[in-house]
């Protein structure tokens, strides 16, 4: 299954006359980690919405390997192996940390499978492993609703680990975090990346620099510049619209 590339070509999204994405084209190779930056309103989150099936593009092609993502719903896209981490961490407050991970664990998603689901030893070990990785072993039986902001972010990252996706979309993972939390998150993301493709949307340039990978700059819904961070930072157009301000 590993080894699908993400391919966006000429994608436009128009909301009531506003072009959130304008002829956006982007290719993410299998195993590649890509940082996407851009000023507010550049279309970063809309791009993620299009890839994950939340928003239908007005025009253009979105493919993951052989699959046409524009014809699939969110659940089928998730089951293809595309995981998403939201800007605002969304975990299930009324369930325990353990149960949150259990729901995310890669397993048959049908109603009857869920009705008769029994947690096996292997699955239990996998969850325990993730719990220690995200530093929540002690709080495994706490309701997710009582977690701090940082812990919620890690739980959500843990849920992505359980999903075992091929392509991971991460929206502003360190927004609102302390320095220490940011460090922990960066380490977690590097660990997750492994052999997967990862697209990280981030405002924090230091964080992007630390990732040290190819950067795509979005502006007004289209790709303004693409390349290593130093090249991008030297691009006069980028300086004008984003970095220079």
């Amino acid at each position: 299954m590993k080894g699908n590339s993400l391919y966006l070509d000429g994608v436009s999204v128009v909301f009531d006359g506003f072009r959130a994405l304008n002829n956006l084209s982007l290719i993410v190779e299998p195993g590649e980690m890509r940082a996407v930056i851009g000023p507010n309103g550049a279309g970063k989150t809309t791009m993620m919405d299009v890839i994950t099936g939340k928003t239908r593009p007005t025009a253009g092609t979105v493919r993951f390997g052989d699959h046409d993502l524009t014809r699939m719903d969110e659940a089928s896209i998730a089951n293809l192996g595309i995981g998403r981490k939201f800007q605002k961490p969304t975990v299930f407050d009324a369930l325990t940390v353990f149960e949150n991970l259990e729901l995310a664990l890669k397993a048959p998603r049908g109603t009857l499978a869920a009705l008769h689901w029994r947690l096996g030893t292997e699955a239990h070990e996998k969850i325990d492993e993730t719990l220690s990785e995200i530093g929540l072993t002690a709080g495994a039986q706490d309701l997710a609703g009582i977690l701090s902001h940082g812990q919620r972010q890690w739980l959500e990252i843990g849920m992505l680990l359980m999903q075992d996706p091929q392509l991971l979309l991460v929206d502003e993972p360190v927004a609102g975090m302390t320095d220490q939390e940011t460090e922990h998150t960066a380490a977690l993301l590097r660990r997750i990346a492994g052999t997967r493709s990862v697209v990280v949307v981030e405002h924090d340039l230091e964080f992007v620099r630390a990732l040290g990978r190819k950067v795509t700059v979005l502006h007004e819904g289209t790709v303004l510049s693409e390349g290593p961070i130093d090249q991008v930072q030297g691009d006069p157009r980028v300086i004008e619209v984003y970095l220079g301000r």
């Binding site: 994950t52 939340k54 719903d73 969110e74 659940a75 089928s76 998730a78 089951n79 995981g83 998403r84 939201f86 969304t90 975990v91 299930f92 407050d93 009324a94 369930l95 325990t96 353990f98 149960e99 259990e102 729901l103 995310a104 998603r109 049908g110 109603t111 869920a114 009705l115 008769h116 689901w117 947690l119 039986q141 849920m159 999903q163």
Partner: protein, 355 residues
């Protein structure tokens, strides 16, 4: 994996069901005995048991999956009508007009023969199956159309309210073949036992009680399974569940159809106990009242649904015996008070008291 066990709740529920089982026994004591309970108490508590089954059904959809249906009375009434049709067929030639096949109202309205959709209802297992399948099929259709289009929250509530209202208007019509505004009554017997006897009342009471226990077990199995946890997740963050790869529509459909079938069962048990079914059972107010039971008891806990159904109906029976005009105000006030001061219902209050 059930990290939050509540052994006391289970014990309390079991004890309550056992206590209820004593009611027909006490009814069998001689009238002069201090512990004797009247026939009236047996039928009224039997009715509350049927209401408790309906409350369970509403709770698994609303309390766990966040699907607030304001039309569950329709599923209850459809189950009741299926049972009513069976009871009408069992009257046979003992009706006022003495027709061997046609129920009285059909003779009166000049039906030449039994409409096709009445065929088979003389058979008890068939009628019981219909009491579950017809509400289930209706819920499947309405749910599929609504959930697929991602109609949620108050919009869904309004659709279900309209559904029960439309069914009420339809069942009021004489040419629907369901007895119009008179509905069905004057039942004679069920499974060979004459109704309106002490034995029949006890039998119906125990049938309802056993059904309640079974529904409780089924609902507990569902909500304690991973499916139950997916439903809670859907209730709290529906779109997030989709991004985990779950087909939310099929999960919601599953619980909504199950809930409708349990409601149908409740209605089928209710009709022989009260001896009548008419289109008034579809009235939107009934559905809203049933939702209030669950809110008062505490939604999202199975025990809460039962507690709410019994306590609100006990108050209703007591109050309407001397001031029936007051009831709508009390009911409305109760809903406002619970929403404002007791969002977790009586169960929340008990838990707080219990530490």
């Amino acid at each position: 994996m059930a990290p939050r066990r509540r052994p006391y709740t289970t014990a309390a529920l079991g004890a309550a069901l056992l206590l209820l089982a004593l009611v027909p026994v006490l009814n069998g004591l001689p009238d002069t005995h201090a512990l004797h309970v009247s026939d009236f108490i047996v039928s009224i508590v039997g009715k509350w048991i049927c209401y408790a089954i309906l409350a369970l059904a509403i709770d698994i959809a609303w309390g766990y999956a966040g699907i607030l249906s304001l039309g569950h009375g329709a599923f209850f009434a459809l189950g009741g009508y299926a049972m009513g049709m069976h009871l009408m067929r069992r009257i046979g030639d003992r009706g006022v007009y003495g027709h061997p096949v046609l129920p009285d109202f059909m003779v009166f309205l000049g039906y030449p023969e039994l409409p096709w959709y009445w065929l088979g209802f003389d058979n008890f297992p068939f009628a019981m199956a219909m009491a579950l399948l017809v509400p289930g099929a209706l819920a499947g259709l309405v749910g599929w159309l609504a959930f697929r289009s991602r109609i949620t929250g108050v919009y869904f509530s309004i659709i279900t309210q309209a559904m029960t209202y439309a069914l009420m208007l339809a069942f009021f019509r004489n040419d629907m073949g369901f007895g119009g505004n008179n509905g069905f009554t004057d039942f004679k017997d069920l499974l060979g036992v004459p109704l309106n006897t002490r034995a029949a009342r006890a039998g119906l009471f125990y049938a309802a009680l056993v059904s309640l226990a079974l529904c409780l077990l089924i609902c507990a199995y569902v909500v304690k399974s991973k499916l139950g946890r997916v439903l809670v997740a859907v209730r709290d963050a529906e779109s997030r569940v989709r991004f985990l790869g779950y087909n939310v529509t099929s999960y919601k459909l599953f619980v909504f159809v199950l809930s409708a079938m349990i409601s149908g069962l409740a209605g089928a048990l209710y009709v022989p106990l009260v001896g009548i079914i008419n289109p008034g059972e579809f009235s939107p107010g009934n559905s809203i009242e049933a939702v209030i039971w669950v809110a008062v008891g505490g939604r999202g806990t199975l025990g809460g649904a039962l507690l709410g159904a019994f306590s609100v109906n006990a108050v209703k029976t007591w109050l309407t015996s001397f001031a029936p005009d007051f009831w709508p105000f009390v009911l409305g006030g109760l809903f406002v008070a619970v929403t404002l001061f007791l969002p977790k219902g009586l169960v929340g209050l008990l838990r707080r008291r219990g530490g």
